[in-house]
Symmetry: C2
Subunit: 252 residues, 2 copies
DNA sequence: TATTGACAACTGGTATGATGAGTAATAAGT
DNA sequence: ACTTATTACTCATCATACCAGTTGTCAATA
């Protein structure tokens, strides 16, 4: 029995409240950093119960759109907080599969190699110094797996920040939590640490020379190497990644 | 008075509840698609009030980690729903600036050109047919700005899906809502529609030939052209959008 | 028998009021 | 002037009640 009737959409009060506040922000009525009226005030203002309002605020808070502090109030977020970024891809990691892992590394490589290109193009003197310092500290920490892993992570982080594109930086931020995990794993092997440092030095050299193409190329090579190492890493245990032909996906 | 004491971190009950459920999912105790116990049950199970539990669920729901249906229950999300993706970059758009806009287009160009490369490498016969059909329908809709805009959007969407990388696809998903808006804006100009169709045909040709490098190159050129048109950097030519309007593009 | 429709038993959604707890400005005391 | 206690805000949590959507049961009816 097909009738031309559309399904009636029920918009919950909470949803409507969320949309309303978002619209206020988008329209500029509420500016970043600005404090929202108190819950009791808003509740009355919008004509909803406090429970409803709190749920709406909880949602907005979860999305990183507003920041709530006990005793102070609710504020429009001025910049994205990384805590919410971690959760962006959480559902994808909930169902772990080989394909997911491969996709993850591939995505990371694509974005980061582009980030390096931008970094090479735009890096300031200050960025360069910061990167150099990280590598120097890495060299000093060659025998300290944990510290080296942290610095390795920091290097990649700094590069994507120095790329000077807030979206690229935030996208890398979405992947960061998981990247960190793998880097710390890898840095347990002294060979990996040595090779990683060498690769980073090459990359930095290209960034210093502002050699965009080579910076990107070497980065891809480096990440490709990293991925291969990771797949061979814990061959004592059952490794989540197996076939070599899949690994070669990263070959250009 | 510096003492070696760390600040005591008080984790709110809500936060703890969120973390607990997330951990259950990450550990595999809760699998995607599975139904959570009812609110009343969970409330007692975790020893928190229903208010608190609901706030936790609201957060998880906002992040797209669980899906809640009135009268049925709460379920672990099986895949990421795009609705939550739209909000990822919302805070960035709240702070409207020219630099933000430029960064947005740049990021989109980088990711999409890589997506096109992957698409050219891996596209199936079915993908190719789907893309062809979209372009044929575009040609038929050359005089219908709204419809053409939708199809334009669809083309880019299908390409990033055919790239066969779930992360790339989802990242594009984060930007999609905003891309759509400006595509609809551009398609008001008949010149743009014509040029867009020609560019898409070239891109599709490269995808069909599996010419990875040229597919990426042409895409960049195409997107660059589009961006210039929008920002009126293309001096002399008529621009469909004033810069002020462009910034306001994201406010609705 | 097969369909219908009222109903009960779930589920989440909303409302209210009371109380706990953090923050910051102010008043009181030294 | 400095410190401390008060106070008046804020959000955080809890308990209870009731509204509303979904689903299956089962008796009444055609």
């Amino acid at each position: 029995m097909k009738v031309g009737l559309e399904k009636i959409k029920r918009v919950s009060v909470v949803e409507a409240t969320v949309s309303y506040i978002k619209k206020q922000i988008a329209d500029g009525a509420l500016k970043p950093g600005q404090q929202l009226p108190s819950e009791r005030t808003l509740q009355e203002l919008l004509g909803v119960s406090r429970f409803t309002l709190r749920e709406a605020l909880a949602r907005l808070s979860a999305l990183g759109i507003v920041e709530i502090t006990h005793g102070k109030g609710a504020f429009i977020a001025q910049e994205m907080n990384s805590s919410s970024l971690e959760d962006v891809f959480f559902p994808l990691f909930a169902n772990q599969s080989v394909q997911n892992l491969i996709d993850f590394f591939e995505a990371r490589m694509l974005i980061e190699s582009e980030a390096v290109r931008l970094c090479a193009k735009r890096r300031s003197r200050k960025d360069l110094d910061a990167l150099k310092e990280i590598l120097d500290r890495s060299e000093a920490a060659l025998e300290d797996p944990l510290k080296f892993g942290e610095l390795d992570f920091l290097f990649h982080n700094k590069v994507s920040q120095a790329a000077g594109n807030i979206f690229i930086d935030k996208m890398m931020g979405c992947l960061n939590e998981y990247i960190k995990k793998y880097l710390l794993m890898l840095s347990n092997n002294p060979e990996n640490r040595k090779r990683s440092l060498i690769n980073h030095r090459s990359i930095l050299e290209m960034i210093e020379k502002k050699d965009v193409d080579n910076a990107g190329r070497i980065t891809r090579k480096h990440l490709n190497q990293t991925f291969k190492m990771l797949t061979n890493f814990d061959n004592g245990k059952a490794t989540p990644v197996a076939p070599e032909d899949l690994i070669n996906l990263f070959s250009q």
